[in-house]
C-alpha cells in the first residue's frame, strides 16, 4: 500500500521555480533517500511534505489522505532537522513530550511514552538534562526521540547526521537503520553522504534542479544509471567520462574509437540499440573498473599525478595527455609515485554508453 504519494509537485519562491514537477510513491515501511547536488531542492521537497512550505501545485497524500493543504501537525509526519532544533529551555523529557502535550495527552501517559522512546535511544539517564548539557550525538537522539513519540506515519530527516563527526555518524547511521527496522515506519531522508544513501535506502531519488533524474534501488542506480548525471553522481570517486566516435555496431553493442584514451575498436555494450547509429557518444568508466592487473581487453598508458591512499584501496589520479585526466581505484599500488608511468587495464563489458543528450544508450 502506498503510504506517501507525491503527484507532480511544483514549488516556486517568487518567480523562481525550485521544484518543477516531482512525482513519487513510497510504500508503507519504505526508506526513501533524496540525493542531489546542493541547491537542487531536496530540503524544499522535504519541507513541502512536512507542510512547512506551501505547495504551489500538485498533490501530496499520506496514507491515502490528501494532505496538500493540511497543517503540519495533522499530516501524520515527524521531522528531524539537521540542526536538531531542540527547545533549549526544556529538559530532554519535556522536549520529547511537547508534541504529545500539545495534542492534549495527559501527563502520566505522556511520560510513559517518553520513557519508552528514551529507553530505545539510550536516553533514559538524560531525561532531566537540558539540551546544552548533551553531546551532539545525544542531542540528535533527542530530536529523533521527539519524532518517535509522535508515532508518525512518515518520518522526515533533513541531513540529520551531517553535524556529527565521522565516527558518530557511522554509529547513528546504524541506529537509524535499526530504528527503521524496529518501527517499520516510512522514512524520507535527505543526505549528501553517498554511504548513508547506499546503505540506508530502499529507494534512492536522485534530484537535479527540482526534477527527478532517476528513482531506484541503490545498486540499480549504481549498476544501471539512466543518464550521465546519475552515473556521475552515484559512485565515489566519480565515473570517468570520455567522448567516443562510433565506428560500427553489432546486435547489442557499439564499436567505438576513444581518442582521448588512444583506443580504437572498443566494443561498448548498450541497453537498447537506437534506430539510427549515433556519430559520437560519451562513454563512462568507473574508477573501480580500472585495474593495474594485466587482464582482459584494453590497456592505456598513464602517468601518475597524485595518489590518495586510504589503506584498503588507493585512488590514482593520472593523466594520459595534457587535457585528459583519469581516476582509478587500485587495490595494490604501494610503490607508485607521482611521475611514474604505467599501464591501466579496462574491462570493456563495464563501460557505459550515453548519447549526446546524456541519456543512457
Amino acid at each position: 500500500m502506498a503510504e506517501l504519494v507525491l503527484t507532480d509537485l511544483h514549488k516556486s519562491f517568487g518567480a523562481t521555480e525550485v521544484i518543477r514537477g516531482v512525482s513519487l510513491e513510497a510504500s508503507s515501511g519504505e526508506f526513501i533517500v533524496f540525493v542531489g547536488p546542493s541547491g537542487c531542492g531536496k530540503s524544499t521537497l522535504l519541507r513541502m511534505i512536512a507542510g512547512l512550505e506551501e505547495t504551489t501545485a500538485g498533490k501530496i497524500s499520506i496514507d491515502d489522505r490528501d494532505v496538500t493543504k493540511v497543517d503540519p501537525a495533522k499530516r501524520g509526519i515527524a521531522m528531524v532537522f539537521q540542526t536538531y532544533a531542540l527547545y533549549p529551555h526544556m529538559s530532554v523529557a519535556e522536549n520529547m513530550g511537547f508534541g504529545l502535550e500539545m495534542s492534549g495527552m495527559g501527563k502520566a501517559e505522556r511520560m510513559a511514552k517518553v520513557r519508552q522512546a528514551a529507553a530505545s535511544l539510550h536516553l533514559t539517564d538524560y531525561l532531566d538534562r537540558k539540551p546544552k548539557q548533551l553531546s551532539g550525538g545525544q542531542r540528535q537522539r533527542v530530536a529523533i526521540g521527539r519524532a518517535i513519540v509522535r508515532d508518525p506515519k512518515v518520518f522526515l530527516f533533513d541531513e540529520p547526521l551531517s553535524n556529527l563527526d565521522a565516527e558518530l555518524r557511522v554509529k547513528m547511521r546504524l541506529e537509524i537503520a535499526r530504528l527503521h527496522k524496529d518501527l517499520g515506519a516510512t522514512m524520507v531522508y535527505v543526505t549528501h553522504d553517498q554511504v548513508e544513501a547506499m546503505t540506508l535506502a530502499d529507494k534512492i531519488v536522485v534530484l537535479r534542479d527540482g526534477l527527478v533524474e532517476q528513482i531506484g534501488r541503490p545498486l540499480e542506480l549504481y549498476e544501471n544509471p539512466d543518464n550521465v548525471f546519475v552515473a556521475g553522481f552515484i559512485g565515489s570517486p566519480r565515473m570517468n567520462f570520455f567522448p567516443a566516435t562510433v565506428t560500427g555496431r553489432q546486435e547489442n553493442h557499439f564499436v567505438v574509437d576513444i581518442p582521448a584514451l588512444r583506443l580504437s575498436g572498443v566494443p561498448v555494450r548498450a541497453r537498447a540499440m537506437p534506430e539510427d547509429r549515433p556519430e559520437t557518444i560519451t562513454i563512462g568508466i568507473r574508477p573501480e573498473h580500472l585495474s593495474e592487473a594485466a587482464g582482459s581487453g584494453f590497456s592505456v598508458r598513464v602517468v601518475c599525478q597524485a595518489m590518495e591512499r586510504l589503506g584498503s584501496v588507493s585512488y590514482l589520479h593520472a593523466s594520459l595527455t595534457e587535457e585528459t585526466q583519469i581516476t582509478a581505484e587500485l587495490r595494490d599500488a604501494r610503490d607508485v609515485q607521482p611521475g611514474d608511468a604505467f599501464e591501466l587495464f579496462i574491462e570493456p563489458s563495464r563501460i557505459f554508453a550515453f548519447d549526446a543528450a546524456g541519456a543512457r544508450l
Binding site: Y84, L86, S103, K132
Partner: protein, 275 residues
C-alpha cells in the same frame, strides 16, 4: 587569547576610570545622605563619612510627602513596565511572524515616534487628556510612558525574536503548537534577555520622566518622585541632606530591578538548541 601586559594595564586603567566616573557620584550621594549637615557643606569634602545621622531619612519619611510620591512613582513605573511588555511582546511577534500589508513600512515608521521632542506633543496631549478627563490622574502618565516606551520595545524585541533559529519554531509547528502557544511556551522563554532589557528600559524611563509628570498632574498628592521631590528640597534654600537621602531612596527600586531581572541579560539561552 593571551594579552600583553601593557594591554592588560591599559584595560585595567580604563575599567577603573569608568568605574570611578559612574561609581563616584553614587558614592557621593549615598555616603552624603548619612552625614551631618555641617559635614555635607564643609569646605573640605570628605570621601568617607566622619559623622553618622539618620536625621535626613527621618525627615524624608516622616515630615515630607516623599512616601506619597514614592508610591505614585512605583505605581506609574510598574504599570508602565507591565503594560509595555504585554503590548510589545505580541506586537513584536506579529511584526516578526505574520505577514500583512505594509508590514515593512509600519515597522520602520514606528521609530518615527521618537522624532518629536516631548515638549512638542505636550500641549496637544494636555488638551486631549483634558477632554477625556485624564488630567491629574496617574493613568495619564502610564499612557504617555507606555506610548513612548513601546516603539523601541517592539523594535528591540523583534530583533531578539529574529535571533531564535527558525527550525525551533518549525519544530513546534510540527509538534502542533498554535501561534499563541509557540509565543508563550517557546519564544518568550527564549527571548527572556530581550524582555528583561525592555522591562528595565520601560521602568527607568517612567521612573525618571519629568516633563509630562509636571504638567499632566496638578494636585500634590498625585505627584511622582521627580516632580514631587523637586518641591521638597526647597525653593529658596536647598536642604542638601534631604536631597541626598531622597536621591538615595530613589535609586533603590532601579538597583533592585537590575539585581532581580538583570540576570536575564545574560544571553546564551539558545545554546544547545542547534549545532
Amino acid at each position: 587569547m593571551r594579552r600583553s601586559l601593557s594591554l592588560n594595564a591599559l584595560l585595567g586603567a580604563s575599567l577603573a576610570f569608568f568605574t570611578a566616573l559612574i561609581g563616584l557620584p553614587f558614592w557621593w550621594v549615598v555616603s552624603g545622605s548619612i552625614k551631618l549637615p555641617q559635614e555635607i557643606i564643609s569646605r573640605l569634602p570628605t570621601m568617607f563619612p566622619q559623622s553618622f545621622t539618620p536625621q535626613h531619612y527621618q525627615k524624608l519619611f516622616q515630615a515630607s510627602d516623599y512616601p506619597v510620591y514614592l508610591i505614585n512613582s512605583l505605581i506609574v513605573a510598574t504599570s508602565t513596565t507591565l503594560v509595555t511588555l504585554v503590548l510589545a511582546i505580541p506586537a513584536a511577534y506579529a511584526f516578526f511572524r505574520l505577514t500583512f500589508p505594509a508590514r515593512g513600512v509600519l515597522y520602520r515608521s514606528i521609530l518615527l515616534a521618537y522624532a518629536f521632542p516631548s515638549i512638542v506633543v505636550l500641549i496637544p496631549l494636555f488638551g486631549l487628556f483634558a477632554k477625556v478627563g485624564l488630567v491629574d490622574r496617574l493613568p495619564s502618565l502610564i499612557i504617555v510612558n507606555v506610548a513612548f516606551a513601546l516603539p523601541f520595545s517592539i523594535w528591540m524585541l523583534r530583533s531578539f525574536l529574529a535571533g531564535v533559529p527558525k527550525e525551533i519554531e518549525e519544530a513546534a509547528v510540527i509538534d502542533g503548537a498554535s501561534t499563541l502557544k509557540i509565543l508563550r511556551r517557546i519564544m518568550i522563554p527564549l527571548i527572556a534577555p530581550g524582555i528583561a532589557a525592555v522591562g528595565i528600559y520601560a521602568f527607568v524611563t517612567a521612573w525618571t520622566e519629568y516633563v509630562f509628570a509636571s504638567v499632566l498632574i496638578l494636585s500634590d498628592a498625585k505627584r511622582t518622585l521627580p516632580v514631587g521631590f523637586s518641591g521638597i528640597i526647597g525653593q529658596y534654600q536647598i536642604d542638601w541632606g534631604l536631597l541626598l537621602a531622597g536621591a538615595t531612596v530613589a535609586i533603590v527600586p532601579v538597583v533592585a530591578l537590575f539585581a532581580l531581572i538583570g540576570r536575564g541579560f545574560v544571553s546564551g539561552l539558545t545554546e544547545g538548541a542547534v549545532k
